[in-house]
Amino acid sequence: MSRSEERRKAREQGGSDMTKFYVILAVVAVVGIGAVGYSIGSTALGAAATEPIEVEGLDDQDMLVEMAQGVTKGDEDAPITIIEFGDYACPGCGGFAMSVKPQVELLLVETGKAKFVFYDFPLTSIHPTSFLAARSARCAQDQDKFWEYHDALFRNQTSWRLEASPIAQFLAFGEDLGLEGDDFEACVKSDRHADVVSANMRLGYELRVSSTPTIMVQGNGEFLMLPGATFPAIQAAIAQIEESAPADAGGAN
């Protein structure tokens, strides 16, 4: 075979290899563009606020107390207030919601002995979706379904807490609860309630909340931050407050 023929064959072989190479490269490019595009597109949270926002005036304690809004379950006039600072993506909070809160509701809230107040405290540094979850629950609150939604978030926590964007699940929870779809979706995908959630977080920091769930019990002028989020700890705190009540009452008289 002459040198020119060798060269021609090498060129032909090279051309064939390069064609295959370009095909493979094109496939990788299409797959890559599709995967990145899909992940960005499907997880794009649009205008949905997923992080705390700056809220003016929170340095003022009075303003902070006004801005921070817990959601109350039970009789507003109940003598004892049980407060939870919770994070919807926190497994510990999920455990509290599923095992301790039902006891609190059954034995303390429904009997009128106490009311339960939930404050958002999303630990966004370790749970990137928890702020959005907190806002979504507030969106459900707009339609008077906060507690149903709150429970749905915790009950289904494992299905969404590691999702890049759990918006689809959040909307599905709302649909299951019969929330008005368009309003709820528009709310979830906006920055609505970001101010309240951010204020609640700030209040938590001011109260030295450093983990979730943090439970506090308040009544008769006493304010106790509990070392553990257990029902016995809550009962013990209530007993302590009740024991102090007669003495206080006597002192006042």
């Binding site: 040198r3 060798e6 060269r7 090498a10 060129r11 072989q13 090279g14 290899d17 390069m18 190479f21 493979i24 490269l25 990788v28 490019a29 797959v31 890559g32 563009i33 995967a35 990145v36 992940s39 960005i40 997880t43 794009a44 949270l45 997923t50 540094s125 370790i126 749970h127 990137p128 979706t129 590691l162 999702e163 890049a164 964007s165």
Partner: protein, 159 residues
């Protein structure tokens, strides 16, 4: 006469180096992995998906950036450079290029060592795994192995 002109010489143009094709394909794949992480850093992708490990922990750690620059951006740049080198090295007049071969070797070795350091941080410092970082580490390792034939090419041209 420059390096590339030397490499062409009067020899017949051979088939394109397969290893450089492999490097190009891998680099393109690595580019998309790094691009995904970088998009997340830019806030375009929302919180990162993690089926295994905990990318959020890794990505929010102090080691996720070098000064103001996200490590993922370094990855994007690195893969673009390797992809470009492989492409240039596939051109008929650069297929025997020692310079391209040397750059591919150095680049993939540097990227591999940097990736090994990041993997060490994940395992022993951050104690969390981001599968995208692991995939990138595997890709750059494969690119390094695919670049090893460049050593023979360098030696052949040197002798």
């Amino acid at each position: 006469m420059n390096d590339d002109e030397q490499s062409v010489g009067s020899a017949p143009v051979g088939a394109p180096p397969t290893n450089r094709m492999v490097v190009a394909v891998l680099a393109l794949g690595g580019f998309f992995v790094a691009l995904y992480l970088f998009a997340h850093n830019l806030g375009l992708g929302g919180p990162i998906v993690c089926g295994v490990g905990d990318c959020a922990t890794v990505q929010s750690s102090q080691y996720a950036t070098i000064g103001p620059v996200p490590v993922s951006f370094v990855g994007v740049l690195g893969y673009v450079v390797l992809l470009a080198l492989a492409f240039v090295g596939l051109r008929p007049d650069h297929r025997e290029s020692r310079m391209i071969g040397g750059l591919l070797l150095v680049g993939s070795l540097g990227g591999g060592l940097f990736s090994a350091y990041l993997t060490y941080l994940e395992a022993f410092v951050i104690h969390a795994w981001c599968q995208y970082c692991v995939i990138s580490a595997i890709i750059i390792t494969l690119i390094f192995f695919a670049s090893i034939p460049e050593v023979a090419r360098l030696k052949a041209r040197s002798s």
